[in-house]
């Protein structure tokens, strides 16, 4: 009993112990680099696909704005929830956050957007506003008139005999300009976000 008390007193009187006791600090406040932070630009050129804005779950968190040369996504702190969906959805790898890009490469995963055009033919009046408003149509057929008639097969949709016909659904970029211009709300664009994982081939690795 007496001996053990002396042992303890000697243990507590050691200078290292006293220093440790008085100046104890946990690890400094550093954030490891693999933590998902606010997305940062990687330096690659933004192609203005806007998939980051479409996949973002937080309102007002990401906007693609005009930078000095071309477009650039801008993250609003205070809105962004650091989920990393914009990093994954970007087809050009413009943003990075933590090790999301490395993980995607290793696991061969990708998020792909596709768009479906649904037209309610009972509501549609065949006015052709959607065809003329569509920015892809404008590039494909600059001659398209107010009625939405076109002899060009490269357009997404056109009016044929008073009815709207969707020709190239795969060209849709999901901008929803047609939804806004439709007077009866007949056209609806569904944005579909799918996650893919490519199988690892035999023999590789």
């Amino acid at each position: 009993m007496g001996q053990s008390m002396i042992w303890y007193l000697r243990e507590f009187a050691r200078i290292e112990w006293i220093k440790k006791f008085l100046f104890a600090k946990t690890a400094p406040l550093v954030t490891p680099s693999h933590f998902r932070g606010f997305p940062e630009p990687t330096g690659k050129t933004c192609q203005h696909a806007l998939f980051c804005m479409m996949s973002c779950p937080a309102p007002g968190a990401i906007e693609v704005v005009h930078a000095e040369d071309g477009w650039m996504p801008r993250i609003s702190k205070g809105h962004c929830i650091r989920c990393g969906l914009c990093v994954e959805a970007c087809p050009n790898g413009v943003l990075k956050s933590g090790r999301i890009l490395e993980t995607m490469e290793r696991e061969r995963t990708s998020l792909l957007f596709s768009f479906r055009i649904a037209i309610d033919l009972e509501l549609c009046t065949g006015c052709g506003n959607c065809c003329t408003a569509c920015p892809v149509n404008k590039v494909a057929d600059a001659q398209m008139g107010a009625g939405g008639h076109s002899s060009n097969d490269e357009v997404i949709m056109r009016v044929q005999a008073g009815d709207i016909v969707v020709i190239h659904e795969d060209k849709c970029t999901g901008c929803k300009t047609c939804e806004v211009s439709c007077p009866t709300g007949a056209i609806r664009i569904a944005r579909i976000l799918e996650g893919f994982q490519q199988p690892v081939q035999e023999g590789s690795q």
């Binding site: 104890a24 600090k25 946990t26 406040l29 550093v30 954030t31 933590f35 606010f38 779950p57 937080a58 309102p59 007002g60 609003s76 702190k77 205070g78 809105h79 962004c80 929830i81 650091r82």
Partner: protein
């Protein structure tokens, strides 16, 4: 500045009492504030003590998107804190309303409209390190030289 004032400054910056108030959050940020208390981040090693009484607090942590139930009440809590005092907004909700700030919702962010906010910590939820850093910065900005600024 007299020696007494210097001592007061030093002691004040070394003993921050924190009160937190949840004005309608999803509890995510509350959990992160709780993590600051745990040994991993150990908020008390900096002399910060969580004491949920506004009368004795120096720093008020505001968490949440300001639901209608807190109208008038949050300002009352803020007025009860004796100066020097500072309020820190924790998370996206008090800054922008985050996911709750949609049409037909009753929240009324930002909290800045209702009480003066000294620091904002963005994130959904913010990391305990970020919360700690914000409190430490507020301490240096508000409490470390209070006597010099208010003679």
């Amino acid at each position: 500045m007299t020696i007494l004032q210097q001592i007061k400054n030093k002691v004040r910056a070394r003993s921050i009492h924190v009160a937190y108030v949840d004005v309608g959050s999803c509890n995510g940020c509350d959990i992160e504030v709780l993590a600051c208390l745990a040994p991993r981040y150990d908020i008390e090693q900096y002399g910060i003590f969580v004491h949920n009484n506004p009368r004795e607090a120096d720093v008020l942590l505001v968490i949440g998107a300001y639901t209608p139930g807190w109208e008038e009440k949050l300002a009352m809590v803020w007025e009860k804190i004796p100066p020097p005092k500072a309020a820190v907004a924790i998370g996206n909700c008090p800054i922008s309303g985050c996911l709750f700030n949609r049409r037909e919702s009753f929240v009324d962010p930002p909290v800045k409209k209702h009480i003066p906010i000294a620091a904002e910590v963005p994130g959904c939820p913010p990391r305990p390190t970020e919360i700690l850093q914000a409190i430490l910065l507020v301490r240096d900005a508000v409490f470390a030289n209070w006597e010099g600024e208010h003679p």
